[in-house]
Symmetry: C2
Subunit: 319 residues, 2 copies
């Protein structure tokens, strides 16, 4: 009888439905996420990275940031919220993790996968962190990553009382996270030897210099869970895991390598020989040492652009 009363009360209380935070998760081509309808940003974005998915012809020039049509439009962010806000549109699952398929990369440009991120952080430390996660696929067959925002007090400012303070941008008041997190699970199964390496990291949403190591931002998973209110890996037996930064170095790309990596990316998009040479000369200016890959890339591109210019001159003559 007690239970019948309780059930009857429940039915009467919820006559007009259960207050709704939105779906538990949304599934995309190559990632899964939960959206925070109050803050207009994701609360977590989960992905599975393998070597196969990192190869391919998908190109971000075909992708465009846009509101996610799968969300209730009432809670969507818009590009105009980010425009001139002083904050970049930071991918949670990065575009570069979906090279195998254009539609998968396009999905990562939905604003449901984006938070307002400090420009320098996005282009610098965070980018190197993402490259590190991709690099893990060389050692580990399966790399799983959960990425998202977290809101923490600024402990440097705290006196007696502790506060959380964060900015809202745009007319839809999109929340700017104070920090970003990643949970990384790297797994290999060689000769029946199953290794699961686990690491959780919380990085401030601000510029992070080369003097900082990834290990400086490592936290116990339970601390991250307490702060986000999320139980990240409900089906993982954590006693079976090893510390990622013990199993692997957790070394991010050095400043030199990272700058060469960017120069390589820019070389690939050079539109003429002048541009190509200007970019290549930066290597010497910055006192960097080009590796074989970069030299080969330069030569190939140089040949390509010379061909193009010859074709152009020939075409002009014919006219």
């Amino acid at each position: 009888l007690e239970d019948v009363n309780k059930l009857e009360n429940q039915r009467k209380i919820l006559k007009y439905g259960i207050p709704d935070k939105g779906p538990e998760y949304n599934v995309y081509e190559n990632h899964v996420l939960n959206y925070d309808q109050a803050r207009k940003i994701p609360s977590w974005v989960a992905e599975h990275i393998t070597q196969d998915k990192l190869k391919g012809e998908a190109n971000r020039k075909h992708s465009h940031f846009k509101p996610d049509p799968n969300l209730n439009s009432k809670f969507n962010a818009g590009n105009d919220d980010y425009l001139k806000s002083g904050w970049s549109r930071g991918h949670m699952t990065p575009a570069g993790n979906h090279k195998y398929k254009q539609t998968a990369m396009n999905d990562s440009f939905y604003l449901s996968n984006v938070v307002p991120q400090n420009y320098e952080n996005n282009a610098g430390f965070w980018n190197r962190f993402e490259l590190y996660c991709r690099d893990l696929t060389k050692k580990f067959k399966d790399v799983r990553v959960i990425t998202g925002p977290v809101f923490l007090p600024d402990l440097e400012e705290s006196e007696d009382k502790i506060f959380i303070k964060y900015q809202l941008i745009g007319k839809r008041q999109v929340a700017v996270p104070t920090h970003l997190y990643k949970v990384v699970i790297a797994e290999s199964n060689n000769n029946n030897n199953n290794l699961i390496a686990l690491g959780a990291f919380i990085v401030p949403n601000k510029p992070i210099g080369y003097d900082k190591q990834l290990t400086d931002f490592m936290v116990p998973l339970e601390i991250l869970e307490e702060k986000t209110g999320l139980t990240m890996l409900p089906k993982l037996d954590q006693s079976m895991t090893k510390n990622l930064c013990s199993v692997d170095s957790c070394q991010l790309m050095s400043r030199d390598k990272f700058e060469l990596y960017f120069i390589a990316r820019r070389l690939q998009t050079a539109k003429n020989l002048d541009q190509l040479n200007k970019i290549y000369n930066e290597i010497a200016e910055k006192k960097l040492k080009p590796d074989d890959y970069l030299i080969k890339l330069f030569k190939e591109k140089e040949w390509q652009l010379k061909e193009k210019e010859l074709m152009g001159k020939k075409h002009q003559k014919e006219l």
Copy 2:
């Protein structure tokens, strides 16, 4: 084939489970709530108030604030978080809405139903708002209320940039909401004339004087939904509802009546004739006019306490 790939990706991504925010809702004897595991307070608490549930012998002296055993203990708040924090333990569904049954009242003392609330607000304006909701049962057969915290920027402080800032209290860092909300649905069905009155209110979590009206805090439901990220009443056809403050006055109890109400409550707990008279004399001191109910209450209590003192004297003599 496309869908098969997507499903296969989903399965691989979520190998270790879906990041878990906790249950969609928890059901108690006479209320239902969703808990915010990150902030350690509820996000909404739903209830159904009727005249029957407001009568009875349940007494808050038998109830005690305590952590909710139905929550994952990792995300629970504790009484020690509130102690000496400068903030009161504010019920979302008030104890007084569960007089019909002690276990229902006890459930309302779980900290899952509590947020850090300004003392004056809790005892004053918010208390009068709760009394108003109870009073609605005199006019409306069914009164449904959804109550919770909401985090908003302080518009008075805002310059160019907008921020949300809120305090955290205790070692578990329980979030202090900047505002509290209520959605009130009052419904009557007389002579086949179905009336559904709807009102949404956002009240700052600070002292609110008698100069303020409830209507000063009324907001369109969609604004509240946008700020909380909640679709409050997914099954309600809002086009069928009327504005609560047009159908009813939305008048809170006046200062005089509210003070008499408190004196009545204190009269009922007087332990001896001296105390009783002291409390009753406050009526004259505060220049209030006692109503018939209060006079009757005083006389009954006076007679009760005289009896008790006579019995005490008789008992002493016998010893």
